[in-house]
């Protein structure tokens, strides 16, 4: 392929847009880790179930974005319930136990999807419309997805840094005991965080389904991807996860253009492997002395 300015532009924009979607997946993972101290690998399982829910809705004639508008509050409520039941005892477990527990939940969610919907690859028929400017062609769905993801990241950041509830959530993430001592109900805040992370999973599922193919085991790839992004951004740094997601998306786009998609995956894993061994506190974070 000839590498011209428009190809590079195409690649960078696609990378940024896809990366922002990855960021949206990772933000929910990061939020719940930061606040409830739960390493929730099952997050990606929720995303995949949202995608299958959307698939059912779309097949019966509902617009995917409309389905998303219903899915987000629904998942918020489900998240509240899950934090009360399935996840109630998880934050007290050690890291290793949490990982095993949520991996178990991921397996359950992923293979329930396979049981009911089969292992086949699905995708939604696109609108076929695209926008061109300066030689760069982008699908409408990709643009909408990127805008929604970026918008949600900015909104979440604003929520966490400007509102009382957001600050309370950050306070309980920073120091659970301290937050309790100043009268914050950390258990309730963890529930809100879990609900928010479920809502983010719904949003991520909605925008993912419009731009990519999916299958039950996609949940596993997404779980590893979310972990990778979140480590890159610093585990409990929600906005950092979004930025790291964009970086990963761009890396993927660049390597895909030069080599192939599976080499891009390899490059991502090699990068994160190096980051873990060299800078485990995340690339986007100042080194904190212990």
């Amino acid at each position: 392929m000839e590498i011209s300015a428009s190809v590079i532009g195409q690649m960078l924009l696609t990378g940024v847009l896809m990366g922002s979607i990855y960021g949206a997946v990772a933000m929910g993972f990061s939020l719940i880790f930061g606040v409830a101290k739960i390493v929730n690998f099952a997050h990606a399982g929720v995303v995949v179930w949202v995608m299958y829910g959307e698939l059912v809705a779309v097949r019966s004639g509902v617009n995917p974005y409309v389905a998303g508008v219903v899915a987000i509050p629904l998942c918020y409520v489900i998240g509240l319930g899950v934090q009360r039941t399935l996840m109630a005892r998880v934050s007290a477990m050690s890291d290793d136990m949490q990982i095993i527990y949520t991996f178990g939940l991921l397996l359950v969610l992923m293979y329930m999807a396979q049981f009911f919907f089969g292992p086949d690859v699905h995708n939604l028929p696109g609108s076929g419309r695209s926008i061109e400017f300066g030689g760069v062609v982008l699908q409408v769905e990709t643009i909408v997805a990127g805008v929604l993801a970026t918008g949600s990241a900015i909104a979440l950041h604003a929520f966490l840094s400007r509102t009382w509830l957001g600050k309370a959530i950050r306070a309980s993430a920073d120091n659970r005991r301290g937050a309790t001592l100043i009268g914050l109900d950390v258990v309730r805040l963890a529930r809100v965080a879990m609900a928010l992370s479920f809502a983010l999973a719904a949003l991520a599922g909605t925008i993912l389904i419009t731009v990519t193919t999916f299958y039950p085991l996609r949940a596993f790839d997404l779980a590893v991807l979310a972990f990778v992004i979140v480590v890159l951004g610093g585990l409990d740094n929600v906005f950092g996860s979004f930025v790291a997601g964009v970086l990963i998306g761009m890396l993927e786009a660049v390597v895909t253009l030069i080599f192939s998609p599976s080499i891009a995956q390899l490059a991502i894993y090699a990068l994160i492997f190096a980051v873990l061994l060299v800078r485990p506190q995340g690339l986007l974070r100042r080194r904190v002395m212990k």
Binding site: I99, V108, F115, S262, Y269, A270, I272, L276, L277
Partner: protein, 644 residues
């Protein structure tokens, strides 16, 4: 005797397993080969889990073993055994590079597990992208077919060897090191365990064995493929099998795997009965795996083996009436004789004067268990050192040591020295830097400037276990027993820092326990001890390392006056064998009574050094620390201080 029973049972089981090829069907031999192979793999995974590390990426080593074997066969016609050995070496090399770095950077928790997960995933994509490895198709072992009974035999042999190896390992010095690391890495390091090396050894062993398993599995399926060899499925299966059976137990991993395979077969039968497709059956099996993972974590994190053991004990106790058995976490039973709580000790507070060295008299023969006089500890150091010898060259020198944490100064140019046979008290208000000083001396926290010299040699810069091996032992303010182990095993881990053989170490450990009166409780689990006994266990563990200097961090905190007096007597007794002490203590009465000299720290600076009597009258010290109890303290100096 019990071990003999175990061995006999093991032999019977092994013979039974060996006979299967003579009567089993092709299908059952095939299935059992897989069961035993995975049992072996889980047991190999368990070697790493013995140190408390959880790996989600053992598929990496499994795949390396499988791919190496098949690739070498296809390209060079290499013998499969040679291929497996090469794979094992490659896997161990990979594990060495990766985990050496991971342990050095101190990865733990989610970062560690995530790193192992990413390792396997990266290798999966590397295989997918390598034409020589057949990309996503993998490689096929064409024109080679090993007889089923051979693969079966190898699987059984490897399983038996690994299970036996685990049993043996748990009783070896390395095994005690592994268990100490699992229970409490910091304490293990302070007791002379080279935790870095111990973890690396367990990891390499585990990786190499799993690679051999991968080679065997490749020979069994006659192909390798990225998804099944490097995929998460395999890692999770090993993890689940081991957790289900019980991590760190001898028989847990194969038992867990057997249960898993039984459930899996059951679901397959059920699925066939319901006329489900293979994809649905597979999905059901995986849902079950997931649900089991969650269930095990919530309901049975100890695993089946330990749980059955508890039931067995409970039923035996119900049968025999009175409980006379103690349970320990290794899944073994130790008869404890009289495990009733020790009788209350009479207070000796009433007679503090001149009571140094005298054993408290206790009823019920507790004195009789103090047989191992101090003599047995360190004969060379026994020459009694009176206070007169305190003027010789310093045993330990702290020279201008500074340390700050995030800009907060914990220690600022602290200097003092300690003579051999001396008891030096280190006091100061909360936050004065006493514990930091201990951590610097014992190598847990490096000093930012200044140095610590031990018999004229540099001590700063050494790791904690090296400091311990030079004869400087310590206890922790917050007691940190290895809670899964018995009292004796706790002390044994300390003793192993200077003994190569378990028998010698056991003797030293028993002597140390006798010195602090814990001898009768040697077979109890460390968790069953009272706070006082736990403090004494800390003391005994430190003693077992054969120290010349012991750093005691608030060994008296939380004890009542009579208990404190008893501890003080012990300290004086042990000092008389030539051991020096550095005490951090808030119990003023005890410090004033025990110490030959006292160093006072405040805000990280030494504000006074001198005899207890001088310190008690020092206006600076009184103002920062003893202000309110001035009269009281000087009173103690005159009345409580013993003459030796």
């Amino acid at each position: 005797m019990r071990n003999a029973h175990c061995l006999a049972a093991l032999v019977v089981v092994a013979l039974g397993m060996a006979s299967v090829p003579f009567w089993g069907s092709g299908y059952s031999i095939n299935l059992l080969t897989q069961v035993f192979l995975f049992g072996f793999l889980a047991a190999a995974w368990n070697f790493m889990a013995l140190t408390g590390l959880v790996s989600l990426g053992h598929a990496a080593f499994f795949g390396v073993g499988g791919y190496a074997t098949v690739w070498l066969y296809l390209n060079y016609g290499a013998n499969l055994a040679f291929g497996a050995a090469t794979g094992a070496v490659l896997a161990m090399f990979l594990a060495f590079v990766v985990f050496w770095t991971a342990f050095r950077t101190g990865l733990r928790g989610i970062y560690f597990s995530g790193m192992t997960l990413v390792l396997a995933e990266a290798l999966r994509f590397a295989a997918i992208n390598t034409p020589a490895l057949g990309r996503s198709q993998g490689l096929e072992l064409v024109s080679l077919h090993l007889p089923d009974f051979l693969l079966y035999g190898i699987s059984v042999t490897l399983l038996v060897l690994t299970v036996g190896g685990t049993w043996w390992l748990l009783r070896s010095p390395l095994g005690y090191g592994l268990q100490a690391v699992r229970e409490n890495e910091g304490a293990a390091e302070a007791l002379g365990v080279n935790t870095f090396r111990v973890k690396l050894a367990a990891t390499l062993l585990s990786a190499g064995l799993v690679a051999i398993g991968g080679a065997l599995y490749a020979a069994h399926l006659r192909f390798v493929e990225p998804e099944s060899d490097f995929g998460l499925q395999l890692s999770l299966e090993l993890l689940l099998g081991t957790f289900l059976g019980g991590t760190g137990t001898v028989l847990g991993p194969p038992i867990g795997i057997i249960v898993l395979f039984a459930l899996r077969e059951g679901i397959a039968r059920l699925g066939e009965f319901l006329a489900l497709g293979s994809s649905e059956i597979y999905a059901m099996q995986q849902v079950l795996y997931g649900a089991l993972l969650m269930l095990v974590v919530v309901a049975m994190p100890d695993g089946l083996v330990r749980r059955m053991h508890c039931w067995w004990i409970a039923s035996r106790r119900a049968a025999t009436g009175a409980g006379s058995a103690g349970l320990r976490a290794g899944g073994r039973v130790v008869s404890t004789g009289g495990s009733e709580p020790a009788p209350a000790r009479p207070s000796i507070l009433a007679a503090p004067k001149g009571s140094a060295g005298a054993l408290p008299t206790t009823p019920l023969g507790l004195r009789a268990v103090n047989p191992a006089p101090l003599a047995s500890l360190e004969p060379a150091a026994r020459s009694r050192l009176g206070r007169a010898s305190a003027a010789s060259s310093p045993y330990l020198q702290v020279i201008d040591v500074s340390r700050s944490f995030r800009g907060i100064t914990a220690l600022a140019d602290v200097s003092f020295d300690l003579q051999q046979g001396e008891i030096l008290g280190l006091i100061g208000p909360n936050g004065a830097g006493k514990t930091t000083m201990f951590n610097v001396i014992s190598g847990i926290v490096p000093a930012q400037s200044g140095e610590v010299r031990h018999k004229g040699e540099q001590l700063s810069g050494l790791a904690a276990h090296q400091v311990c091996r030079r004869g400087v032992a310590r206890t922790f303010q917050i007691v940190q027993p290895f809670s899964g182990l018995t009292v004796l095993e706790n002390a044994l881990i300390g003793a192993l820092s200077r003994h190569t053989w378990i028998a010698d170490a056991r003797e030293a450990a028993l002597a140390a326990l006798a010195q602090v009166d814990l001898h009768p409780k040697r077979d109890l689990p460390a968790t069953s001890l009272t706070l006082q006994d736990r403090k004494m266990l800390e003391f005994a563990r430190a003693l077992a390392t054969g120290p010349e200097l012991i750093l005691l961090d608030e060994v008296m905190a939380g004890l009542n006056q009579s208990e404190q007096a008893r501890v003080a007597d012990k300290i004086l007794e042990i000092r008389d064998t030539g051991v020096s002490f550095l005490l951090v203590e808030h119990a003023m009465r005890a410090v004033m009574r025990l110490s030959d000299r006292i160093v006072v720290l405040d805000h990280g600076k030494v504000i006074a050094t001198g005899l207890p009597s001088q310190i008690a009258c020092d206006p600076g010290v009184i103002s920062v620390y003893l202000g309110r109890s001035q009269v009281h303290a000087s009173d103690q100096r005159e009345t409580v201080r013993p003459s030796s």
